[in-house]
């Protein structure tokens, strides 16, 4: 078995990176949009809309309260409608994104909320539109926090992606279960763990660096 270990782990790592990368590619824009709306529709905010705010909040909370392994199977019809298949790496991307968008949305909301209200007022006093308040004040000012949020979220998605094996998504988690656990091949489990640890460390390091570089405070 051990001579096949390297290609097996390599293949699984690529699957994990594809799932996580694709899920984040969907999550970042959608979560940003949802997070901005969560904040701005809130009481006393620029788009104060109590009904829309509560509705969006409820959807986000429901998304966050369903355990991922259940979500994975529960959204199978949605997955089929969106990507035309319910098994494989591509199919796993849909539930990953569905689980991650609400999580990231809350992180975005919290990051934007930290931007002092006075900065928004200064822009409004200068004649800014609401859209400009978001693009020129809220997002740029919260950028270091948003980058930190992307790091946290990406690492969370790596964790979720370990369950993708349940829909034949492959990836490192799947390999660890099928080879390491079910066939007692401990070296496989160990190898996947090492790869995951390295992956997370690198990601955190890069995220911290970028956040620091973007911060001018």
């Amino acid at each position: 078995m051990s001579e096949d270990l390297a290609p097996l782990i390599w293949q699984a790592t690529r699957e994990t990176l594809v799932m996580v990368g694709a899920a984040m590619a969907v999550t970042i824009p959608l979560g940003l949009l949802a997070g901005v709306l969560l904040l701005l529709t809130g009481p006393g905010q620029l788009l104060a809309q109590p009904v829309a705010h509560r509705l969006l909040g409820a959807v986000v909370n429901i998304g966050r309260s369903v355990p991922f392994i259940i979500l994975l199977v529960a959204v199978i019809p949605v997955t089929r409608a969106l990507v035309g298949t319910t098994i494989g790496t591509t199919a796993a991307i849909v539930p990953l994104a569905i689980a991650t968008v609400p999580f990231f949305a809350r992180i975005v909301e919290a990051a934007l909320r930290e931007v002092p209200g006075g900065l928004v007022e200064a822009a409004l006093a200068a004649g800014a539109r609401r859209r400009e308040v978001v693009t020129k004040v809220l997002i740029p000012e919260a950028l270091p926090a948003l980058v930190a949020g992307v790091t946290i979220t990406t690492i969370g998605v790596i964790g979720y992606s370990a369950m993708a094996g349940a829909v034949g998504g492959g990836g490192l988690g799947d390999v660890a279960i099928r080879y390491g656990y079910q066939r007692y091949e401990t070296d496989v489990t160990l190898a996947t763990v090492v790869v995951l640890v390295v992956l997370v460390q690198l990601l955190q390091l890069a995220g911290d660096r970028l956040a620091r570089r973007l911060s001018h405070t």
Partner: protein, 308 residues
């Protein structure tokens, strides 16, 4: 709207949703090119008042005119265009930390749709005006409080406003820095003919830069007038704060007098009184002499000049 505009506030009321009456029928006019200071304690409603002028706060009733235009019910594009003609500076400066000084100054120009090269040129020009040309590339975190406020002033001037609102602009600064920022405000007012409405809780700020002053208390204007006139008013709370002070003097039967003009010395001498204490200062463009007299005949002075 002309470059020089008046601000006319009539019957302004602001009641917050929680029932607090912040402004209870304020009438106030800032003449074109003048600096009017609204002084009041915290909670007097002065902050609400200034924020109503550019509609950061929605008035409950009354009207506000800037340069003759009624801004009270403006919405959308019209309101945004009007806001560009009203500069504002803030107590906490409110600079974007993610932008350099020059980029902060350029923000209103960006919003106004000015092209990049032109924005850059104007931002540097404005930084030059406030004496910070060499800090154009610095981020707010690298600037001192006084420098931040100068950038704030440059930003407020970027869209060539006809009116400047100053919301406790020097309250977060030490006294020396306050002085230089106030000098800058005065200079801008003189050079650009800008109409300035400023609010403050410090009489010193009023004394240093204002042409006129209004005292706001509990959402009402209790007193107002040009500085040089208010200062000589008997029994005035504003005068009490504006008059030059003399150290602690304990005299029985002393009479306090306030004289305006250059001939105070001769007129004090004419009373034949002993001058126990005196202090002279230029306030609102007039020489103000406050003196404590013992004995003599104060009836040779005007009745209004004898305060107590």
């Amino acid at each position: 709207m002309d470059r020089v505009s008046t601000i006319e506030i009539q019957g302004l009321r602001k009641v917050y949703p929680n029932g607090v009456v912040a402004l209870d029928g304020v009438d106030l006019t800032v003449a074109a090119g003048e600096i009017l200071g609204v002084i009041g304690r915290s909670g007097s409603g002065k902050s609400t008042l200034i924020r109503c002028v550019n509609r950061l706060e929605e008035p409950t009733a009354g009207t506000i005119r800037v340069g003759g235009e009624d801004v009270t019910h403006m919405r959308g594009a019209q309101l945004r265009a009007t806001r560009r003609r009203i500069g504002m500076i803030f107590q906490q400066f409110n600079l974007l930390n993610s932008r350099t000084a020059a980029e902060n100054v350029a923000l209103p120009l960006e919003i106004a749709g000015v092209a990049r090269a032109e924005r850059r040129r104007r931002a540097l020009e404005l930084l030059e005006l406030v004496g910070l040309r060499e800090r154009a590339g610095s981020y707010p975190a690298q600037l001192s409080g006084g420098q931040k406020q100068r950038v704030g002033i440059a930003r407020a001037l970027a869209s060539e406003p006809s009116v400047l609102l100053s919301d406790e602009a020097t309250s977060a600064l030490d006294s020396e820095t306050t002085e230089s920022v106030l000098d800058l405000l005065r200079r801008i007012n003189a050079e650009l003919g800008l109409t300035v409405l400023l609010i403050t809780h410090e009489m010193d700020v009023v004394r240093r830069v204002c042409d006129s002053v209004a005292l706001l208390d509990d959402g009402r204007v209790l007193e107002r007038g040009p500085l040089g006139e208010v200062v000589a008013r008997r029994g005035s709370r504003l005068a009490a704060g504006l008059l030059p002070t003399f150290g602690r003097v304990e005299v029985d039967g002393g009479v306090e007098v306030v004289l305006l003009g250059e001939d105070a010395d001769e007129r004090l001498a004419a009373t034949g009184a002993r001058v126990e204490a005196r202090s002279t200062e230029r306030i609102g463009g007039r020489l103000v002499t406050r003196a404590l007299l013992v004995g003599g005949d104060t009836s040779v002075l005007e009745r209004e000049e004898v305060h107590a």
